[in-house]
Amino acid sequence: MLREIGSALLNLAKGLGLTFKKMLEPKYTMHYPEERWHVTPAFRGMPALLSDTETGQLKCTACGICERTCAVEAIKLETVVGEDRRKQLTGYQVDMARCVACGLCAESCPFEALTMASNYELAGYTREQLVYNLSELAEIGKDYTLNNQKPLPQSVFSTYFAEGGFCYLKSDGSKQSAPKPRTRMGKRGLVNEVSQK
């Protein structure tokens, strides 16, 4: 019985040693808002309207395909028929409270006038704040011009590997790669990486 007690105490001490070691290891905390996630170009944030770099006009032709494609009816268009019997865009509204950032609108736009911007800090104090209109969307879209072309949403994996995986920006602008996952696929399922090098 004494041996049982002894081995029990030894195992307790081993457990304590493990947690003590964990205290000394680097931490996974990201000090938001000084450090933020650096998203890949294919990240789907909120929709934004692109403008043509030469003329400065929006590339949108008010065809309405995005409005019809949107699965949650977050996009609302207002058009008026001009003198040349073409539709002109008078109002464009994206309700971010409904938008799920699926990217179908950007995928379906035949003129590549809509793209998924990279900003993910979309909270607001009122519901009215969450409804983005034409000028706001165009303003956000100005960061994404032809020279800084965002690829279509389906190539997310190519950019993931090109960028070296997910990483976040530290406060001095340098990139900090996200910690390596602590599990790997062993022979019979997920294995925890407990031993440290």
């Binding site: 307790l12 457990g15 304590l16 003590f20 964990k22 205290m23 290891e25 931490k27 996974y28 905390t29």
Partner: protein, 318 residues
């Protein structure tokens, strides 16, 4: 007469200050250690270097909460229970030796006083559980009583062995008699039994059935909100500090140490013990109630009696 009164006021203020400081510091330490063990930092924002103002912010928040007393609760007992919890904690600081001359009152039965007064925790929990008029609170309180009563005996018997070795129940005398060897070396079994029983008396993991029930279903302090709950919380951390101080006094040699001033040694030892207790909390899982009772009555009590017997033999023969 006037001078004595002045000294009394000074000591009262000192104890109050120490207790408040402990509450703030130990809660912060617990959250930091918990964070560090869990691959994260603890509080970092309130109070720029490592969030040291976090506890004060929490206390201010608790002060501004609504005071709810259940309609069918026993009002007088409900209101008295947090006081019964916190006033003995305050009293326990009387016999702690901070330094060779720094003790509020060097009672000759200091150790007896300590363990007698620390038994009031049980009473406070019963009062809280009963007065809440909530069957889950009552059950939680009953289980808490079973735990606290079961571990009082091993706690006290392991201290009796120390009293035998040092020849006095006064805490200052016990510290002074450890000049050659601290009792942790002379009484390893006693230390182990005392430490485990102290963890159970404090209601800390792995024996935190009192608290865990609060997280899961209910516990003796479910119906308490705002400052009343804060009293229980402060009393828990006050008890932690006082019990760590007692471990340091009884087993680690109190304020003795080579170079630094005695009070620094004492505080170092106390907070080292508190750190170990917090470290234990975030390492081990919780025991079942039957494992708890079994450990207390079938293992710790015989171990403490064996320890006492061996110590008595040693004292008589040598």
């Amino acid at each position: 007469m006037g001078e004595q009164l002045l000294w009394a006021v000074v000591k009262f203020a000192a104890v109050l200050g120490f207790m408040s400081f402990n509450a703030i510091f130990l809660v912060w330490l617990e959250r930091k250690v918990a964070g560090f063990i869990q691959y994260r930092y603890g509080p970092m924002v309130t109070g720029k270097p490592h969030g040291w103002l976090q506890t004060i912010a929490d206390a201010i928040k608790l002060l501004s909460k609504e005071d709810i007393i259940p309609a069918l609760a026993d009002r007088k007992i409900f209101i008295l229970a947090p006081l019964v919890m916190i006033v003995p904690t305050f009293l326990l600081h009387v016999v702690i030796p901070f330094g060779p001359n720094l003790i509020v009152k060097d009672l000759e039965t200091g150790v007896l006083f300590f363990f007698a007064v620390s038994g009031f925790t049980t009473l406070a929990i019963v009062m809280a559980g009963w007065a809440s008029n909530n069957k889950y609170s009552l059950l939680g309180a009953i289980r808490a009583i079973a735990q606290l009563i079961g571990y009082e005996l091993p706690l006290i018997i392991s201290v009796v062995a120390i009293v035998l070795l040092s020849g006095s129940m006064s805490t200052q005398e016990i510290v002074r008699s450890q000049a050659t060897w601290p009792y942790i070396i002379l009484q390893p079994i006693g230390f182990l039994v005392f430490f485990i029983a102290a963890l159970a008396e404090l209601g800390r993991v792995p024996f935190d059935l009192l608290e865990a029930e609060s997280e899961l279903v209910a516990g003796y302090n479910t119906e308490y909100s705002g400052m009343r709950w804060a009293f229980f919380f402060l009393a828990e951390y006050g008890n932690l500090a006082v019990m760590s101080a007692m471990v340091a006094t009884l087993f680690l040699g109190g304020w003795q140490g080579p170079i630094l001033p005695p009070m620094i040694w004492f505080l170092l030892k106390t907070y080292l013990v508190a750190f170990v207790i917090i470290w234990i909390r975030w390492t081990f899982p919780r025991v079942r109630p039957d494992q708890l009772s079994k450990l207390g009555w079938k293992y710790l009590l015989p171990a403490s009696l064996v320890n006492l017997a061996l110590t008595s033999l040693y004292v008589v023969i040598i």
